[in-house]
Amino acid sequence: MSGDGDAEDKGFEQFERFLDEWSRRDFLRNLGVGTAYLAFLAGGLEFLAACASGNTATTSNVKEGGHIVEVSTSDLKNFSSVLTNDYTSDQMISMINDGLYTIDANAQSLPLIAKDKPQVSSDNLTYTVGMRQDVKWTDGQDVTADDVVFTYQLMYDPAYKAVNSPRRGTLATYVDSVTAKDKYTVVFKLKSVFAPFQASHMNYAILPKHVLGGLSPADINSAPWNAAPTVTNGAFKFVSWDKGSQVTLAKNPKYYRGAPHLDSYVFKIGVVSTEVLNQLKTGEVDVAYPGIGTIDASQYDSAKSVDSINVYSYPRLSFDFFLFQLDPAKPASKFFGDKQVRQALYYALDRTAIAHALYFDQATVANTSMPPKSWAYNKDNQPVYNFDKAKAQSMLDAAGWTASGGGTRQKGGVPLKFEMITNAGNKIRENLLVVMQQQWKDVGVDATPKYVDFNKVLVPALTNTRQFDVLMVGFSWDVDPDQSQVWHSRNTAPGGFNGMGYKNPDLDKVLDDAVATLDQAKRKQLYFQMQQILADDVPAPILVFPNGLLSLNKRVQNWQYGTFIGQGGRRVFIKDLFVSDGK
């Protein structure tokens, strides 16, 4: 469990690292008041070549038995795939319950309960899925097409509106019907061609109809099964959920894809984020997974130096970005309505230095809105908005925003002065605004940071009132490269996530065309066009894709990680996991 090195030396090393990090923080503070900008630029810019995916197996001798403890900073909501959309619940559900498909390391569908890829009709509207006939619920009953139909009914059928599923909006829009052709064949009929359907909507864990089918729609929300799913079909079986404390799972020896090597798997819930690294060090937990209970980026170096654990850093689908106010009815649009101003402000940001100082190098600078590991990513997309202060200044001059004597730029007596908001309490975003304020000040732009409550102010500003000048937030893309939710003009309507008020008919057409074909090569071309248009328009520049940090005790073997793997939970590799000490 622990390292054998000289303890005293170690302590000293840790102290040095502490000082190192301390000075980094200090430096950030200085940056905030604008005194250390040059030092900022001079900072070493070592970048980690983050791998797309990997497998942590180091030995070939698989050991049977043993257990793994994984840390989770927050509790899951419940075990129903229909009722939850948070990542923690999703990951825990993936341990015990399978869907028709899951997502592999290359963002492609991998059949689980489905026998093979779906057969798609020539009009691209009907998906026929043949199911494996050897899949059993843990109570011995067969998993059949009826279970699949029932699961999807809860999410699209108007009769189940009382079920609090956060997916109904999307599924009811596109799904016409889901029916059982025979005991092991399901037919999905869509209302219109919707390319993301397979990658994003055919992975939901299937629910047991013989347990939940007798309940009224409203009672589905509070079914005892949600908290104690004793009938499941996945690699592990539910043992107990001690709320706020832990979830205990045991292996399902009759798992249809082969029994898992591990005997039991425990999620230790409620560990405060600052304690995650300590518990990894003492061996109280074996796994800290990004999105559930990860170590902080600032702890990366210190975690790397611990003998008993391995740390892996890789880009995920999450991104941090800021939105320009483009709605002509809002005052700030007088600045940002001009494309040149938006481009200039993007050029004025030194994102490489930001990734270094604020993300401790655990982030990938975004060149386009597409995650770099996506099949739809165009690595040659231009321009890439590398830091260029002179260019930013000349572009602002050309746009008519000029400064006399180094002060704030003006145009027709109006100063280039606005407010930036983000959610209070998110340290990285708060610091981001301070850095942006400083870097924009250097090109004569007066931007003031303001920190607001996420639920009460930021989300309404983003999706409803649209009362902001510049708004900073972060989200995560889905597996499918469709980004209509943020860029399509229809999502400027209340509730939509196009908070900028960005409307570009050309882009709308590209986005619509891209979901109306299943031809991946054609889609790729269209998403290249999308990236091109967005690079030119910059309605909401993506700053970085923060890396995920996966920490594993060295005894954990065969864990697979990567940008896309977490999207289907752990179903790809969970049965193959083992521990080298067999304990």
Partner: protein, 340 residues
Amino acid sequence: MLARYIVRRVLASIPTLFGVTIVSYFLIWITAGDIVPGVEINPYLRKEDVDRIRHNLGLDQPFWIQYLNWLGLPHLAAQLHLIGGTWPTGLLEGDFGRSLIDGSPVIDHILQRLPNTLELTSTAIVLGVMIAVPLGVAGALRRGTKIDNALTALSVAGVAVPSFWLALMLILLFSVQFEQWHLPWLPSGGAYSAYQGGDFLDRVLHLIMPAIVLSFGYLAVWSRFGRSSMLEVLSQDYVRTARAKGMTERRVVYLHALRNALIPLVTLVGLELPSLVSGGAVVEIVFGWPGIGRFALDRAFGHDYTAVMGIVTFAALLVIAGNLLADILYAFLDPRIRYT
């Protein structure tokens, strides 16, 4: 006589309880905004989902309807055939409702975590008393000496040091460093080991650090209080009389002075009883202790109305019952007090 007094007190506490719940409900309602508890905000979430789930949970209704529904007043009225329609049951019928986040009964959440919290806080209070009293006596007897000064410094530290900081330092030393030095180390979090834990020894090991941190704050205050109370008693006439009788100093201090000095301390410790439930939130968070305090905070951030209201009501009931019990006990302890 006493029975009438109790009935009157119980009746008088009903408005208090309603006051507490209505103010709490209003505060949660006013801070929640338009969020849907338990649903993660992401670009793939559609407005119709937000609106529908809010409607299903009744969050789109005016404040007072939500509150009355939580009380269960319309349901009660419908039961008595005063009004029609179907309504949810509520507090008036003893139903704490279901969590808006996970759909589980709130009372299950509370009862599952209550034993953990009681284990932690009662240990801390007992520990605090057991250490504070001797420290207070020692300080009083050796007033102005180095020992007294050291104890004073300790209690200032106890008040000044934030419990989360002390907790982190203890974890660093007794968990992380001890483990690296190959010494027996204490678990750094949780109420028991995640794997094959839960036996008595395992729970005791997990309890040590959180209980020490929590008791440290009590210790500081109580030892100071014990010291001054002891000093006051030592200067009383009856203590001088006892000494004049030729009693040994030990008997004077422990038999005559200490017993009288402890009475105000008992009141002070009694005041901490409500914190049996709520007192340890910070410690619970740092040590990942699955107790009520951490749960309350989590659910307050998640705007889980029913869960927060359940805890508030539960705590209010405890406080009211505790106060009533204390008042009744006074009557037994002090014959001069009569209830009419």
